[in-house]
Symmetry: C2
Subunit: 315 residues, 2 copies
């Protein structure tokens, strides 16, 4: 099956509507939660963004359903809560990363950052709330029947553990700590290898967990999961390289965040180490490796088109 | 069975050694995690504290085992990961609460707070790591056999959900948001009822979840869980009132934190609303209600003694 760019765009648009509606339903609300934390928690999530992690989780579930010859809609429904939880975790990481004590950014997704609007303390709490809510959702949804469904419970626990490990000290938070440490006065600058390791934790781990989460919820195991993990690892690297390239080339209005900031802050980037041309070539090779991993397990659906989109995107 | 203070102290000391050893094993470590986040995450946990929430979870599991006439040691082992996860969540909340953007405290558990030692950014990340690690532990431990154990999986999911709901925007984080909002310039001061609601979320929710978590892991359900929840709700109120009293009366060296700070910051406290005598009487009545809830379901073990200790403690 060949997927054109238009197919991908229309698929993404449809899934995005589903994810946004589910997020609206799953986010903290009054009267169970105080108004101020509801507003602060919702502000950054509703602002949007590419929703890359939810889309990967859903595309992964879709590909697994295709490979196992089962209906795609139930597989997507099983993966939807994990897709939403991943977006909440990604958003919490942005809210905390933007704080004055971290990257000190004032613009994100085209709007003032949460701490600019709600103050630093409330932004910290909003991030805490989003992270915690992600685990409420993963433990609660999709709902098991009253007496439980052993297969579903086992998948939920496995998915939750996979996502938590990727988000924690061995993954995303660990990568942010390395990034913060490298940015401190007097710290030795990261070399190319340390840069790759930092990104593999900071952004790569959650992207891999997204592909794994969708696949586990849809019933994947063994070599199929390994192939999707390999796909996502290559995809994550390509995504980061392109992010660095866009930071050098882009304008704030397209990115929805402050452009040129990494370079201005003296942060190491792929173009700074390898130049623009070699960085583009590295991103392209990563995508080829991602596609090869899929082919090995005859996984398809939207995943190949997503990998190609990652290197061709302009924002 | 009558439990004397000495019995309680010796039971607590033994369980504390078990919890501390488990925490040592379960906390983030090298080389999976970068050294800086390992150090920052461990710093505040190893500092100690009363370990009230783990002790409640274990005492609750112990009481349920006694009531169901099953062996106590396996029940305690089932509850131990939840006990550790609760302590990590409590510690993360202290690390974030102590930040300059929140309560701006420099002393905690007798040592400089995490942001004083590691910097604000790293303290935020250490809190994030502790919160996330709590869910890794809850999803992973106690380990299911390779093909899963449906009863254990169901209990783990239920426990995880109960704890996450109590820690999030509808519980602890929501309470912290109310506290922060009330402390802001120009905010209307909390009245006695709003103070009670704030504490019920900020500290009460996680204390209730601790009692519930130990009980669920040990196999409790229905009226037994309801009685333990009622016990813990009264206990949490008594604990908070006594905390306020100690803040007025205590010295920093006993508390291990800055004494008189709440009153100095103009924060509402129970003694400020009701006076010391009436506050003490309110705490004593709460403990009586907690004991009555236990008796209704013939739950005992260390839980009655813990309730009496909460009002008699001097730090």
């Amino acid at each position: 099956m060949t997927t054109t760019t238009t197919d991908l765009e229309s698929w993404l648009a449809g899934q995005r509507r589903t994810v946004d509606a589910a997020l609206e339903r799953l986010l903290p609300r009054e009267p169970e939660c105080p108004r101020i934390i509801v507003e602060a928690a919702r502000y950054s999530v509703i602002a949007g963004g590419k929703r890359l992690r939810p889309m990967l989780a859903l595309a992964s579930a879709d590909a697994v359903a295709g490979r196992l010859s089962v209906d795609r809609d139930p597989a997507l429904a099983l993966a939807l809560p994990a897709a939403c939880a991943l977006e909440l975790i990604h958003t919490y990481s942005l809210v905390h990363d933007d704080l004055p004590a971290m990257d000190d950014d004032t613009l994100r997704r085209g709007r003032p950052t949460a701490h600019v609007v709600f103050g630093e303390g409330m932004a910290i709490l909003a991030g805490d709330a989003l992270l915690t809510e992600a685990f409420v959702i993963l433990a609660r949804e999709p709902a098991s029947p009253p007496r439980g469904d052993p297969v579903l419970d086992a998948r939920k626990l496995r998915t939750l553990r996979r996502i938590a490990e990727a988000a924690g000290a061995a993954g995303m938070v660990g990568g942010q700590a390395l990034d913060l440490q490298a940015a401190q006065a007097g710290a030795a600058p990261l070399d190319a290898d340390a840069l790759r390791r930092m990104h593999a934790s900071k952004t790569g781990a959650l992207i891999r967990a997204a592909a794994a989460a969708g696949a586990i919820m849809a019933g994947a195991d063994g070599p199929m999961l390994d192939a999707l993990d390999e796909y996502a690892a290559h995809l994550g690297l390509a995504f980061q390289i392109v992010d660095d390239i866009l930071d050098v080339e882009g304008a704030s209005v397209d990115l929805g965040k402050t452009a040129g900031k990494d370079a201005a802050a003296g942060k190491p980037t792929y173009p700074a180490f390898f130049g623009l041309e070699a960085s583009r070539a590295l991103a392209a090779r990563s995508v080829e490796s991602a596609l090869a991993a899929l082919e090995r397990e005859r996984l398809a659906g939207q995943l190949p088109a997503i990998a190609r989109w990652v290197v061709s995107r302009t924002h």
